[in-house]
């Protein structure tokens, strides 16, 4: 019994740190509708800046320690403010997901900056003077600092609550979160509100990071380690709801603490299972309310079938792709194979993001199902390639259909997060079901005689299947089915009043996108000759998002161009410099600022104007 109480207290301490970071993210999302990937970077910067600041301040005095922590938090607030003003402010009118792309660019840049400034060593920051001891609780020593953390959570909650309930700023925040027209009607400078909320949110993240110093090491992996968990907290709590974030942080903290006792092997996936369960029962999270419709004014372009000029370009490109192996380099063929695979992957994601208006953060899950279907078939039944390549889209199509059933009643970011949870659950199956999947060591030797990855035969096969698959998707988007999907996205009420079965069309979109992603995954497995859990991990999903967004959501050739640009950039940058993450991040920011409609979106806009 005593042990359980101590375990619960430990969970409470973790909950407080989670809450600090999550509350900031929730506020930012509620007001600006930005899915801020860089929030984890703010958290990490808070920790690193606290280390540097505390090294300058007198040691051993509690007052200086706390001042240092606060100073670091404020410094992060300043960084967040600057980021909002110079970057995000310029792109609020771009398609909603474009800000996600921008914040991801920031993540990449900060990762390399942190390595350059603070070096690669993990740092164990100074502990809070006067709070280094433990006290006996029920006969067990318990760190006093954790008790302090347990109280900081509710204190911050109360402060935010008062701020949101009883100040004009708070009223605006609430209005912006739930009733956008009011804000406009009040004649408030929205830009100022956004900046203020960003400053507050990033300060909270910085504080969360700085307060972690006594508990864990400061590393350059902190950002991505926390961000997924914080997303879970924010979504479980209900987007934009600060009390919800606290409740969810408590829940997740306890799930962690007791999950470790009961099922220590599945700690990672447990919180995603909890999130999936919560979302299925309460589609807007524990305390969330339906959000006011997002910022208006998003430019939605009309999709057009290829005109004569685009057709010409397409034929030239196809000829080039066919003649490419003549260039001689093995590497070019390998790269082109990979590019073809990612074109289909991006096209399948684009079907969901674009015409269907369904944001998926877990598309790699379906890609991975295809890859593992092939690998398992080869490993256990020595299946020939034809069987593998039939199985991959079939399995992933089924997975997509199953997923479509699960999230039929969700939309927007909630859908995105449930798809993330779905992919994470698949990922952990690949990672931890060692007997079947080989765990993180993956499955090796996925090859078919005569069709080796990097070989010419395989290249042409991949080119045929991937470009063919992309054309089929394209065709479907321009067929009545695709128009039905877009109708459901553009004006759901109108679509229903016309008798359009929106939910069923979307469900089919999940299945079809799943099949296409699975085909891409299956080909990828053969191309690489091996499969690993990383194929289903979050970074792969983010890669897919990057490709689609780089190309442009509201164009048909966007995913193709986006995938080519991404594969090319990654190859050139990773071979040219160790700072490739920073270079990629800077390029992403450049694209975001210069072409807020994506590369293809920008080009077609320009030619139309001309």
């Amino acid at each position: 019994m005593e042990a359980l109480i101590i375990q619960a207290l430990t969970g409470l301490a973790s909950a407080s740190s989670l809450f600090l970071v999550a509350s900031g993210l929730s506020l930012i999302f509620g007001v600006t509708r930005i899915v801020n990937f860089a929030h984890g970077s703010f958290y990490m910067l808070g920790a690193y800046l606290a280390v540097s600041l505390l090294a300058l301040l007198p040691r051993g005095d509690p007052m200086w320690w706390w001042l240092g922590v606060l100073g670091a938090a404020l410094a992060v607030g300043v960084i967040g403010t600057v980021l909002e003003m110079v970057l995000l402010r310029r792109i609020y009118r771009a398609p909603e997901l474009f800000q996600l792309l921008a914040t991801f660019g920031v993540v990449l840049i900060v990762q390399d900056l942190v390595l350059l400034i603070w070096g690669p060593q993990d740092i164990l920051g100074p502990r809070a003077p006067g709070l280094r001891f433990s006290i006996e609780i029920l006969g067990q020593p318990f760190p006093v600092y954790d008790l302090v953390l347990i109280t900081i959570g509710p204190v911050v909650l109360a402060g935010l609550w008062a701020l949101v309930r009883h100040t004009r700023f708070g009223m605006l925040v609430r209005a912006a979160t739930h009733d956008r027209e009011t804000v406009a009607a009040l004649g408030v400078d929205q830009r100022l509100l956004f900046t203020a909320v960003f400053a507050l949110g990033s300060t909270l993240a910085g504080l969360g990071g700085a307060l972690q110093l006594p508990r864990e090491a400061v590393t350059s992996h902190m950002d991505l380690a926390i961000i997924a968990e914080v997303f879970v907290v924010v979504v479980v709590g209900g987007l934009g709801s600060v009390p919800g974030a606290y409740l969810a942080a408590l829940l997740i903290g306890q799930v962690h603490a007791f999950g470790i006792l009961v099922l220590p092997e599945i700690t990672l996936v447990l919180i995603f299972l909890v999130m999936a369960a919560v979302l299925v029962v309460r589609p807007h999270g524990l305390l969330g309310r339906p959000l006011a419709h997002a910022r208006g004014g998003e430019a939605v372009a009309v999709l057009r079938a290829a005109g004569p000029r685009v057709r010409q370009i397409a034929w030239v490109a196809l000829t080039a792709a066919i003649l490419l192996p003549l260039a001689g380099s093995q590497h070019v063929v390998t790269l082109a194979t990979e590019a073809a695979v990612f074109i289909l992957f991006a096209a399948s994601l684009h079907l969901l993001l674009g015409p269907a208006g369904l944001v998926s953060f877990g598309h790699a899950g379906l890609f991975g199902v295809g890859a593992y279907a092939v690998a398992l078939a080869v490993k256990h039944w020595a299946a020939p390639m034809a069987v593998g390549l039939a199985l991959a889209p079939f399995a992933a199509g089924l997975a997509g259909a199953a997923f479509g059933v699960m999230c039929a009643h969700l939309s927007g970011v909630y859908l995105a997060m449930l798809s993330l949870a779905f992919a994470q659950i698949l990922w952990s199956a690949a990672f931890q079901w060692v007997a079947l999947t080989g765990g993180d060591n993956g499955i090796l030797g996925v090859r078919a005689a005569g069709w080796e990855g990097g070989g010419l035969a395989f290249y042409y096969l991949t080119l045929t299947l991937c470009l063919g698959g992309m054309l089929v998707l394209r065709r479907a988007i321009l067929a009545p089915w695709g128009y039905g999907l877009r109708a459901g996205r553009d004006a759901p009420l109108r679509a229903a009043a016309l008798g359009i079965p929106v939910v069923r069309l979307q469900w089919a979109a999940f299945a079809i996108a799943g099949a296409a992603a699975g085909m891409a995954g299956g080909l990828f497995a053969y191309a690489k000759g091996s499969v690993f859990p990383t194929y289903l991990a979050i970074p792969k999903s983010v890669d897919g998002l990057l490709m689609v967004l780089l190309g442009g959501i509201h164009t048909l050739s966007g995913p193709l161009v986006g995938a080519l640009v991404f594969v090319g950039l990654e190859d050139v940058l990773t071979r040219a410099t160790d700072l490739w993450r920073m270079a990629l991040g800077l390029i992403i920011l450049g694209v975001v600022l210069v072409f807020p409609q994506g590369v293809v979106g920008a080009v077609s806009r320009r030619t139309r104007d001309a």
Binding site: A301, V302, A479, P480, D490, R494, I500, P501, H554
Partner: protein, 245 residues
């Protein structure tokens, strides 16, 4: 054509619609009016399947449609117009109608045949009917609001409705535009013998086009009759003046 019996809808203890019964005959144009907060929108949402009534029955063309979803009502040939025009912004005007026509014919599950070559003639004749033919290739997202309302009307007419439910069909348009818009709607409806029920703020429009007027106040029907009789009804005057005072 439309027969509602004793509809009740309560929101948190407030009876927004309180025992309303009404009928609209085929070929008849009926206006539903009432001061702000009278429950018009709620009643409309009950009739269009957007909301479920707590009590009461709904029958359309002799079929009990109580609790049907908007999609099922659409299949039953009920056309609907929204107060804030709803069209598919990422499509051209013609594509909007093509999509609606294909949906009517249950052709949405085609994944290969291009939409571009589908139902063009029907779409264009509907566009001509609402006087939008010259805008056919413009993106619906770029239309002026008056034109968007026309498109909305064309969409509502696309499933050859026997009952047309229009929520403030002229809201947001200039006074001159209102008459043309209503003329188009009513002419088409009379031609095809469609039953029309519409809500409207502009009394000139109501009295010019309605065969019959229903007056709603505080969730109840307080008057019903020809435009002239309703105009003269003291209860109606009281409701309007009272709400404005």
């Amino acid at each position: 054509m439309l027969e509602a019996t004793d509809l009740v809808k309560t929101f948190g203890g407030v009876r927004a619609v309180d025992g309303v019964s009404l009928r609209v005959m085929a070929g008849e144009v009926v206006a539903l009016i009432g001061p702000n907060g009278a429950g018009k929108t709620t009643l409309f949402n009950l009739l269009t399947g957007q909301l479920m009534p707590d009590r009461g029955r709904l029958a359309i063309a002799g079929v009990d449609t109580t609790g049907w979803s908007p999609r099922r009502l659409a299949r039953h040939r009920v056309g609907r117009g929204f107060q804030i025009a709803q069209a598919f912004a990422s499509m051209t005007v013609r594509e909007n109608l093509q999509t609606a026509l294909v949906a009517r014919d249950r052709g949405l599950w085609r994944l290969w045949r291009r939409l571009a070559s589908t139902a063009v003639a029907d779409a264009d004749s509907l566009l001509a009917a609402v006087e939008l033919a010259d805008q056919a290739d413009r993106p619906a997202g770029d239309l002026a609001y008056g034109d968007l309302k026309r498109l909305e009307l064309a969409l509502a007419l696309s499933n050859r409705p026997r009952l047309l439910l229009l929520d403030e069909p002229t809201a947001g348009t200039a006074p001159a535009e209102r008459r043309t818009l209503m003329t188009v709607a009513v002419t088409l409806a009379r031609r095809d013998h469609v039953a029309v029920l519409f809500t409207e703020h502009d009394m000139d429009v109501v009295f010019a086009f309605a065969d019959r007027v229903l007056v709603l106040d505080a969730g109840k029907l307080i008057a019903e009759g020809s435009p002239a009789s309703v105009r003269a009804n003291p209860a109606v005057r009281r409701a309007y003046l009272g709400s404005e005072a």
